[in-house]
Amino acid sequence: MMQRLLQSRGLPQIIALLVILVIDRAVSPQFFDLRMLDGRLFGSLIDVLNRGAPVALLSLGMVLVIATRGIDLSVGAVMAISGAIAASLADQHGLPIALAAALGAGLLCGLWNGFLVAVLGIQPIVATLILMVAGRGVAQLITEGRIVTFTAPDLVWLGNGAVFGAPTPVAVVLGMLIVTGAVVRGSALGLLIEATGGNARASELAGIGTRAMILAVYVWCGLCAALAGVIAAADIMGADANNAGLWLELDAILAVVIGGTSLFGGRFSLVLAMVGALIIQAMNTGILLSGYPPEFNLLVKAAVVLIVLLLQSPWLASVGAVLGRARQ
């Protein structure tokens, strides 16, 4: 019974999210209240979705990378770069050019990571470490060490506006989820990505272009990170090269792992990665609402990582198997 519950996909994550939301409700009685103001929904629940948008976008790219047995540590730095570009171009050149330049930069960063991993065959942790270290420096180069602010209304709308009552970031995440889901699950692409992560050599022999597959997921991850960077910059109407996206790569990886995708590659789920991002944000918001110092956040996160690890570990599976056999 326990075994089957753990193995049914997605149930533990959704239960965890519900439990956290109920705890949040217990902490703050107005948690589920929603209000409509100036054509936009407000409320703690909307806030969880809105604040969680950057991490959700990051994990959308990250989940594909992790499915190929890789990892992308550079997404936080890419966020800083794209935010810096968007913020410094927005006022003079308008949204289309600023957005194109920022997303183009993300694409290039992803291409660089993918090149290192797929073509040069460098370990993903190491390959993306390079951009993680250098990327923030590049972002500083773009902002010249200052915090660049802007007032361009269309870029501000991207962070603070509303689409059909939902905050724009939430709409963007939903749009990206649908696009990614349609491309990956609507075709055999998702299966090929899982095959690459499961066993790259075997997939190569079976005729899958594993290199192209790996290159593509890193490019997509860079693009998602750039979009997250633009949204984060639009949210605060400025680009802070030092702090934009700092440590968010860890949150994104955590979201993917909570979503049940193994760090050893293979089977992945886009929706559950989103649920993972929401779990993290619901915890953050809950701790803020409860009045505990935000420092508790890190301790809670550490505990969650450990619990998720234990649930996923082969050790628990073998214990479960032994228990099951004993019962029979």
Partner: protein
């Protein structure tokens, strides 16, 4: 000597960099600059020594920066608030760090989890714990601290080789002996080469893993103590991102990130190269400090590409050699 060629290249880069700096700023080649280089990077050198063991064994330890932060806060509060004698506080924190590292190693081994994610949890835990103890910077005014910061070996030319620089050099020397001349060190290399083979050879993989992470955490604790000497304060936000600096130092020092190859001396050179870039920027005065990150990133790429090329050559010539031996 294992891992000599990459170390030689690292040494060459360091000497060339130093020569370049000297050519531009004649004052650069002084014992003062060298002594400051060692003092300013003392904590990084200590922590990178521990990281070298972890990476050679095929693992990674992301928690070291947070452990340094935790240590500075713990030491500062123990000495200033609780009135614990400094030496007892040091012993307590090193024991605590040893237990922390051992726990991470045990989880990695028993649950067969990637070190990356386990030490990530350790990073959150240590940083969160230090935030909980205090979010403010606590100055340390114990007499021992002024004694240590006053102590220095005077070098000809005005350089002051400080106590913390000496501690760092001693740790590096001890680490080099431990890695290159003991059974423990040989086992670390074996573990990085192949876990399965190591287990089949009868080496206790579990206890080795525990001891390697224990070593890394203890050295991170020691680095934290040195850091508290350096700043004479305990602050929960200190040493954020040091794990990246130390991984970069280890890689620039010629250690293979896949494990199985590397040296402690190379790591020291890697630390000094990063310090050199920082010092150059200070001397120049017009460059911003973020150039350090960009140059470090470029160096990282250069060394990783070099390693990859050498691996490629080794792989190509490997099977042929084996074939010759068989026939």
């Amino acid at each position: 000597m294992r891992g000599l060629p990459p170390v030689a290249i690292t040494a060459l880069v360091f000497v060339a960099g130093f020569a370049l700096c000297t050519a531009q700023f004649p004052n650069f080649a002084s014992t003062r600059v060298v002594a400051n280089l060692l003092t300013d990077n003392a904590f990084l050198g200590i922590v990178a020594t521990g990281m070298t063991f972890v990476i050679i064994s095929g693992g990674i330890d992301l928690s070291v920066g947070s452990v340094i932060g935790f240590t500075t806060v713990f030491v500062a509060l123990a000495i200033e608030r609780l009135g614990v004698p400094p030496l007892i506080a040091f012993a307590a924190i090193l024991l605590l760090c040893a237990a922390f590292g051992a726990a991470m190693g045990a989880i990695i081994h028993v649950f067969d989890m990637p070190p990356f994610i386990v030490t990530l949890a350790g990073m959150f835990l240590a940083r969160g714990a230090s935030f909980l103890m205090s979010t403010e910077s606590t100055p340390i005014s114990a007499p021992l601290y002024s004694t240590v910061s006053d102590f220095a070996l005077r070098l000809p030319g005005g350089g002051r080789l400080t106590a913390i620089a000496l501690i760092m050099l001693a740790v590096v020397a001890a680490g080099a002996v431990l890695l290159h001349f003991t059974r423990f060190g040989a086992n670390v290399y074996a573990l990085g080469g192949s876990r399965t083979t190591t287990a089949l050879m009868g080496i206790p993989v579990g206890s080795m893993t525990v001891r390697i992470y224990m070593l890394s955490s203890v050295l991170a604790g020691l680095a934290g103590i040195v850091f508290s000497f350096y700043t004479a304060a305990g602050y929960s936000l200190s040493a954020v991102g040091v794990e990246l600096d130390s991984i970069a130092a280890v890689v620039i020092g010629g250690t293979l990130l896949t494990g199985g190859q590397g040296s402690v001396v190379g790591t020291l050179l890697g630390v000094l190269i990063q310090g050199l870039i920082q010092t150059y920027i200070n001397f120049d005065g017009t460059l911003s400090s973020w150039w350090t990150k960009i140059v470090t990133g470029i160096l990282l790429f250069a060394f990783i590409a070099l390693q990859q090329a050498m691996l490629g050559i080794a792989r190509r010539s490997g099977p042929r050699k084996a074939g010759v031996l068989k026939s």
